[in-house]
Amino acid sequence: MLTVILILLPLLLSLIIIAIRREKAIRQFALAGSLIEFGVAVAAFIQYKTSCHCNLLFTADWLSTLGVSLKFGMDGISLLMVMLTTFLVPVIILASFRHSYHRPAAFYSLILLMEMALTGVFVSFDGLVFYIFWELALIPAYFICAVWGGNDRIRITFKFFIYTFTGSLFMLVALLYLYFKTPLPHSFDFQWLYAATLTPVEQTWIFGAFFLAFAIKIPIFPLHTWQPDTYSGAPAAGSMLLAGIMLKMGIYGMIRWMIPVCHEAVQQYASVAIILAITGIVYASVIAIRQSDMKRLVAYSSIAHVGLIAAGVFALTPNAMEGAVIQMVSHGINIVGLFIVIDIIEQRTGTRTIGSLGGIAVKAPRLAIVFMIILLGSIALPLTNGFIGEFLLLLGLFEYSMVFAAIAGLTIIFSAVYMLWMYQRTMLGKTNETTEKISDLSWSEMAVFVPLVIMIIWIGLFPGLFLDVALPDVMQVLNYIK
């Protein structure tokens, strides 16, 4: 039942919130609501048992004639994703308080609607329901970015929408095709989909379609060109939702079914996918070095980071897969943190052009410290969350191929190069007229960062909790490979 509450609660909240008029009340309501949602997720976490594969299962008939049922549940991977989602949404909402968006009711309502769709994606145990939530998430994302976005937002978000929508249509075709290959009676239930019998050729095609859909979402080189524009054009909350949670849908999808369903094709084409992902790592890292817009730099860094995750997924080793799962969580936390920092800087100085900033650390040491910690997380310093993920990913990739791991490992160097460059140019040095008046973090802003920082260090120091939760299910997925 908890899973259903997890889906319905944000929906309900988003509907109620439209009726509220006062901006302050809207914010408080949204925050309180999302915190309750997080509470529910925590309750689910507590109830969760790793040994059992029937966690929090909820089943109801929906389109029984079409083999579609409302089947919700959680395994370790989805549990972590739900935790991530419900954890980040309050943070994002809180971080949005500093802005006074026009039409706040619609804004917060859309965020909650998106939370519902994202949660839905992660808890669906039925292929078609998964797809529906997958697409549903796109609509609020589009509107958040398009309505509250920056310059040139119409063109950018439209491209984003068309690109990702087209990608997911590929998934729909593959899904439908797959449906008819499931054992009788046909069903979209994951277990049935896993059991579908496919010829090698069919596997290849379905793999291709899934890969396209997921790769666009993630995004993997060379399907990434919507991403930097979208991240930099979107409002802060939009970038956070997209980069923090939404792109995880792609990786989650890969783990959740692309691998079990077309395991032979996955094995066959894994090296191709890894090469693409790794190319993306190097490519995006190199590009990031010269970006002058902070958000755009982070956007490219994100391409590199998720490229590593994708490469890890295709390495098909337990270590890499565990790394991918934990890195999804870490990346979500880190990039949201980075975007909040950038947002604060942009709001206070009116710019996020690296060249015109500098010396912020003099005026805002707390901001500088927080920024540094998040940055360390994202460049994978040991004892931060990023390290656990990257260590496992690279180790797993190494088990697959030493050369790939060595090239992918360049991210360790590159991320230091561009991140420190950004830090140096914005936070360090002397102040100038843009940054002279910048004020330090207020306590309420600290409240946004404290949970993020705690998570960065917690995962870095005690990843066991998260790793153990996901492990049985990761092994389950990998069992299909053998």
Binding site: V286, I289, R290, L395, E399, L420
Partner: protein
Amino acid sequence: MTEIIILIPLLPLLGFLILGIGFRTIPKKWTTLIGPGTILLSFILSLITFINTLSNHQIFIFSNQHISTSAHQHIYTSSHYLFPWIHIGPLDIPFAFLVDPLSCLMLLIVTGVGFIIHVYSVGYMKDDPGFNRFFAYMNLFVFSMLLLVLGANYPIMFIGWEGVGLCSYLLIGFWFKNQEFNNAAKKAFIMNRIGDLGFLLGMFLIFTTFNTLSFEQVFAQAKSMPMGDATILAITLLLFVGAVGKSAQIPLYTWLPDAMAGPTPVSALIHAATMVTAGVYMIARSNILYVLAPTTMAVIGITGLATALFAASIAIFQNDIKKILAYSTISQLGYMFVGLGVGAFTGAMFHLTTHAFFKALLFLGAGSVIHAMGGEQDIRNMGGLRNKLPKTWWTFLIGTIAIAGIPPLSGFFSKDEILLHLFGHSGPMWVIAVTGSLMTAFYMFRLLYLTFFRNFRGTDEQLHHLHESPPVMTTPLIVLAMLAAVGGLLNIPEIFGGGSWLSDFLAPVFADAAAIAVPPVLMSPATEWLLMGMTLAGVGVMVFLAWNRYVKQQPQLLPDSARRPFPVKLISKKYYIDELYDLIISKPVLRMSRFLHEVVELRLIDRMVNGVGNMVVWTGNTVRFIQTGNVGFYMFIMILGIILILFLNILI
């Protein structure tokens, strides 16, 4: 015992947390207490650990003549398991500490020298607005270094490994308003990261080979591997890349001179005594692996030798007091690697120890000079400080003698041990090494003479300002000077009638390696004496030459812009290596970045993506003109359609 071990790194961490969180509110007085205080406590606990190990060690020595049997390992090695860190099936990385003679030695150096430098810093950083921040970073550094030293497996060592890199970054860029310093900090971090990637890959290869990352298990399994195994070769080479980055060896050394941008205590602690020696420690720790890979050993030896000579040659023509010391550090690290390369693990560790003493001393002395000179670092503007800064002068002299390798101070013994091993290994290499050590003597005495002899060459203002440093700074100097003087006693070789205490102490750590490796060439005492004598004579000549050139005659000090003969210019410009790296790495990467972004990204990929969209729009725009609005045309097309359908379906 475990509690004590845990407390050793935990105390500095605690210090860091307190100072880090309250960096704006905690008064300086408290900081003075917390910063060095936690390190002192750690040092005391380290001493206890050391004594404990030592007593176990005695049992070990008495109870066992055959040091290669592993049955007694538990006596001198104690593992301390804290909590599981990463555990996925076979991949089990606990947070665990390993205490054995090697880590004991390092513990003492890190906490001991660390404490002394902390005390010194109280005076040195007294007026700095970032006082609390400084001590927070320093404590964090000690914490990281202790993790590095104590880690019972490679990943924990790696935590410390990267942690010290971070602290180095933070401390080099401590005065972050200066972008030059920040650049230096960034450079240090990135170069370290290049090495770290090697370390990381080495770890991965260890894991895929041995299925474990814990030192004990890896080494236990490695023992049975064949000599010259290719995997081991790869592992050791990769780990060595890490060491090269951290210990500033060719080709990744250029960050260390730049790192002198940090406050002088930082240079002393991080960039001389502890962090940069981490590479040496790591290789010594993995000795068994290295012994099995003779090729790597050769590579290490050659790299070390090249670095030693190369850096020493650069140091001769430098004029910045700290830069000279920095190149000297690189050069001395080179010697340590030479030692490792020829299997003189104890020698390397011995030199590491003595180097920690005298180089920390030299840096702190330099700091004292800089302090007195009001921030001036160019030795061309110094001179005659002997009388103004007597304590500094005396301690600096001791340091210089120690590093130059003049008996009976510590440097002589440690360097000599390495040189002897080297001679046993290869004559020509010995000659090169000795050449380097002669250069060392020359540039160190040049530094000494220029700084403390003849007349003061600085401004009048500086002259008025000159004063001896407060006791809080000079006391550490004196303590270190004493250590530098007597440090050699740790491992007096037999021909001097010494007991080679350090060798014995460390012997269990290197026991397995010693069992496998080619036994060292036994030299007659006569040869040893001869070699020593030759070296010493050379050093003496160098000291005299420097005296002749910089004290006896009026020293000719050319400004940077002066014209010089090409070889001199080449060396004084540090062989243009920075420029070369800039040319072959930084610039191409930046150009590549621009190319990828502007050409590949925007013109190629994005244009292709947009092209698909534009194609659709274009097609739509073209196709819609079929809709002419003309009924006759519509009819015509429909008839065509009908005919086509009928034709295709019925007639064919």
